[in-house]
Assembly symmetry: C2
Homo-oligomer: 190 residues x 2
């Protein structure tokens, strides 16, 4: 997606070789007019798949997922990272390893919101090692729902997550795929 | 807001006297068509205030804030609950006490996204004890930005947060204000 690649070139900041900061428009400050274009693109890619639910993971996937869901006319569910008092025991769970935060945590979705008849589109801002996406895929499988695919904004294609998940037979559509990046030469897209 | 009150009456679940579960449409599964109506209502209330940024807090405020921001044509910033490797040191911070999770945590916003010239609207799903909102207000004050007010979906008016924050001179607009609730008699609105 040309618009997103241009924005990454213009406003993305590379730190230390493998960290791409896009927090001025994607995952801290959020440009919702860009999100609308992203949502339209996901609709173009997955619009004929009968999506009934969009599933994402807190926190930075939520905004993109909600704006995208407006183009699908379906609800969003976000997997929560911690068990809170407000969530009863009837949940699907899986484990996610965060390389950014350097820890493993549980994610949960209430069973009542993910049903066998659902056709689920996963949405997230980043795909790098794929741990978050694999955690979400397991939630969909545990629910017996149909996984339509995953819509990703930025894939670090030089990290193994994308290949790993495609090799599981999951359709992954990434709007910007980064082949390589460095502080000296900037970002090169696939 | 009649639509939201009706939805709370229909789909909200009261647990143990002071917990209102609205996770089927507001803060776990999210009805984005309802969010669009909420966003329009906030626009009606705050549309003439020159809002340049919407500030919310992760995670459940993000979806509502992003859909609302589409009606204001401005970006959203969400305050993060944990310091991650991807956020540099140049941040505003404040402390928030979560009664749901039973702990105190720091919230942060990168200084570069909250400027003295900004006119900030706070958006959140719930107002009860007001700790999250007070944390956000402090971030805006620390930045020297102008606080336009706070747009809240559900205020538990029987808890002290709303009164406390209004007494600070902050304009708080809550779309559904709960006067009392119980498992036996349901929800009564103000």
């Amino acid at each position: 997606m040309e618009l997103l690649e241009e924005r990454i070139r213009r406003d993305g900041k590379i730190r230390g070789g493998d960290v791409l900061k896009v927090d001025s428009f994607l995952n801290h400050q959020m440009d919702v007019s860009l999100f609308a274009e992203i949502g339209k693109e996901f609709r173009r890619l997955f619009g004929d798949c009968g999506v009934t639910k969009i599933l994402t993971i807190e926190a930075s996937g939520i905004g993109i997922a909600c704006v995208t869901a407006q183009f699908f006319g379906c609800p969003v569910i976000f997997a929560k990272k911690n068990k809170t008092k407000n969530i009863a025991g009837d949940v699907y769970t899986s484990k996610v390893e965060s390389f950014t935060h350097g820890k493993v945590y549980d994610i949960i979705v209430a069973r009542e919101f993910l049903r066998p008849e659902d056709r689920v589109l996963l949405i997230d801002d980043f795909l790098a090692n794929g741990s978050a996406l694999q955690g979400l895929i397991k939630l969909v499988e545990d629910a017996g729902a149909t996984l339509v695919g995953a819509g990703i904004c930025v894939e670090k294609a030089f990290q193994p997550g994308g290949d790993r998940i495609r090799s599981m037979g999951v359709r992954v559509e990434s709007l910007a795929r980064i082949k390589s990046m460095s502080e000296e030469t900037g970002v090169e897209f696939c």
